[in-house]
């Protein structure tokens, strides 16, 4: 099956810093989503981005499907950005396969 690797596994930042999270996947996909799991466990949709670049406020994401990776950029981080960021991939309408996540802690 498809393997999904995320890096780094842990990230500690001071408020205001920028960061880049990476997701590598082992096979072709046409579904890729980024989620933020908040401290209460809710998975919040950040981006549906099987290819190309999208931006939403301080967050942006880029997926290069031909090279099998995606990047999530967080600029001017805030304490509310803390939590676990998951990348998940799939083919067509099939199930999502999740990476192991990047745990982000932002300190004031």
């Amino acid at each position: 099956g498809i393997q999904v690797e995320q890096s780094p596994p842990d990230l500690i930042l001071q408020e205001g810093a920028n960061s880049t999270l990476r997701c590598n996947f082992s096979d072709s996909v046409n579904n890729l989503q980024w989620f933020h799991q908040n401290p209460w466990g809710q998975l919040i949709n950040l981006f549906y981005i099987p290819s190309g670049t999208k931006q939403n406020g301080r967050l942006s994401a880029t997926t290069v499907a031909t090279e099998r990776y995606s990047l999530l950029y967080i600029s001017s981080s805030q304490t509310t950005d803390s939590g676990v960021y998951f990348c998940a991939v799939g083919r067509d309408t099939d199930k999502l396969i999740f990476g192991t996540g990047t745990r982000l802690q932002v300190f004031p």
Binding site: N31, G41, Q42, N45
Partner: protein
């Protein structure tokens, strides 16, 4: 509009008992998925319903697990004869025609 809802939010049960977990998808979403999240296994797929097609049960860990979806909407995940290794957060997601998935808040199951 309303998101995906799940009930109960927490469930504590004794080993060997049966449990039922409920998921109400977003109205109009044709696809419904169950996943579980545990410390040792991360987030893993369990079962997938799409319209009137036969469900994809390939992720169910044993025959103690089953799920149904009534009227193309609400789904129930049933675990029979629960074991301690079933303790996890069970997450439901729905999507329109199976693309971007939206998750509910989950049911935390603890088997004592």
């Amino acid at each position: 509009g309303a998101g995906v809802s799940q009930s109960p939010s927490n469930k504590v049960t004794e080993k060997g008992k049966d449990v039922e977990l409920r998921c109400d998808p977003i109205s109009g979403h044709t696809a419904l998925y169950w996943y579980r999240q545990s410390l040792g296994q991360g987030l893993e797929f369990l079962i997938y319903f799409q319209g009137n097609s036969a469900p994809d049960k390939s992720g169910l860990p044993s025959d103690r697990f089953s799920a149904e979806r009534t009227g193309g909407s609400v789904s129930t995940l049933t675990i029979q004869r629960t074991q301690q290794e079933d303790s996890a957060v069970y997450l439901c997601a729905s999507s329109f025609r199976g693309y971007e998935q939206y998750f509910g808040p989950g049911t935390r199951l603890t088997v004592t």
